[in-house]
């Protein structure tokens, strides 16, 4: 059935209010969008790596999750949920349970790109029928905005501070989405909650209902860590996509499709200037940082387009 926002909102809410995520956080927006793609009758077992999402949504004796939820540690969310999925297969085979259960794992970029990469890689390679969603906010926000391998170049974080000599993080981001695509799993996508949420909903639906392992990398701005005013969430996301800093694409059975090509590709400054973490890039003498950032984005975008053609 074609996506219809007005229909999708009628589905029961699966993430209750009363969680302790900061006002304006992008992560619960991603989570709600992903969970809306579940069929109403399906039960979900949802795992989370340690991080903002986990400590804020499951703080004893309260849980925001209306489905079953498990957190065990930071670096092992994928392995933990892979165990639950194995249990489902075994108990189903033995006739001990009925009904359909979907397996979903959330991790921030710290728990996904960095400390949890091995566990993620293992679970995806083994082909568990589960979806792993990274909510990428580009730093270790839960511990107070330290750099991760998902942090963009030159971002000012507490462990890559913009100083007089070093202008923030000196390395480019790790391209995790393509790393996951190279696991040759049935479905990999990069998405963001945007506009009427069609892109993220459609990708979540495909990921959930394509048998086997699936990975989604979802853009999830952090107003506190990125230093912008909370109402601007959706503007920041749109700028990331329109500058091609965060391209929307998917890889289905090895075939890459770029889902959104901006009619007018915006300069990276438009994204950077909206956020305090990049402010130092606009200082006199740091012009080169913006040039290098733009060059890096352009090269990656061109490479993505050429991968689509091939």
């Amino acid at each position: 059935m074609a996506y219809n926002l007005k229909e999708s909102v009628k589905k029961p809410e699966r993430l209750a209010g009363g969680h302790r995520m900061c006002a304006g956080c992008g992560a619960p927006v991603v989570v709600r969008a992903i969970l809306r793609a579940l069929k109403e009758d399906d039960h979900a077992v949802i795992g989370s790596a340690t991080g903002c999402l986990e400590v804020s949504t499951c703080l004893y004796p309260y849980t925001s999750w209306k489905d079953s939820f498990i957190h065990s540690a930071f670096e092992n969310a994928a392995a933990t949920v892979s165990g639950a999925e194995a249990a489902y297969n075994a108990l189903k085979r033995k006739g001990k349970i009925t009904g359909d259960t979907k397996f979903i794992t959330f991790g921030g970029d710290g728990g996904t790109y960095d400390i949890g990469l091995q566990s993620l890689s293992g679970a995806m390679e083994r082909g568990h029928d589960m979806v792993y969603i990274c909510y990428d906010n580009g730093a270790y926000m839960n511990t107070g905005i330290q750099r991760s391998s998902a942090t963009p170049s030159f971002a000012d974080t507490t462990t890559s501070p913009a100083g007089n000599v070093i202008p923030g993080k000196m390395q480019p981001r790790k391209d995790l989405t393509l790393i996951m695509a190279n696991h040759n799993i049935p479905y990999v996508a990069q998405t963001a909650p945007m506009g009427n949420f069609k892109d993220i909903y459609a990708k979540a639906e495909k990921a959930l209902y394509t048998p086997g392992a699936a990975f989604i990398n979802a853009f999830a701005p952090c107003p506190r860590g990125w230093r912008y005013e909370t109402p601007l969430l959706m503007d920041i996301i749109k700028l990331a996509v329109d500058t091609c800093i965060w391209p929307l694409y998917e890889v289905e059975d090895g075939k890459l499709t770029v889902n959104y090509k901006p009619r007018k590709k915006l300069p990276v400054e438009d994204f950077l200037k909206a956020q305090g973490r990049f402010r130092h890039m606009f200082k006199k003498g740091n012009e080169w940082t913006i040039e290098q950032f733009q060059k890096d984005v352009d090269e990656k975008w061109e490479r993505l387009l050429s991968m689509e053609e091939n």
């Binding site: 209750a16 209010g17 004796p61 309260y62």
Partner: protein, 101 residues
């Protein structure tokens, strides 16, 4: 994990009555925890301007825009709305205004 019948939500629960293993057996019970008092500004829904386009609903991080059985939005859930203002920013019809709390 063994089942404890009723989850004790009190801060004075003793060790014999606390749920073993920290299991929470009340799905979605965080709605009993009010985050509305975090708010410094509040969204005001101007019903006459609202076209029920639903663009505000998915952008809410706090699941604080209730939907009725016909798929129409209702007034905000002020028990949980933290006043981030994303909904007001995305509304194309000036149907949400941020005001001092």
């Amino acid at each position: 994990m063994n089942k404890k019948d009723k989850l004790n939500l009190g801060n004075d629960v003793n060790w014999k009555e606390i749920s073993p293993g920290g299991v929470i057996n009340e799905p979605g019970n965080s709605d009993k925890f009010k985050t509305g008092d975090w708010r410094s500004v509040k969204p005001v829904w101007i019903k006459e301007n609202c076209k029920q386009c639903m663009l505000c609903f998915p952008v809410c991080p706090d699941s604080s825009i209730p939907i009725d059985e016909n798929g129409k939005r209702l007034d905000f859930d002020f028990d949980h709305c933290k006043g981030c203002g994303i909904c007001a920013e995305v509304c194309p019809f000036s149907a949400i205004e941020m005001k001092d709390n």
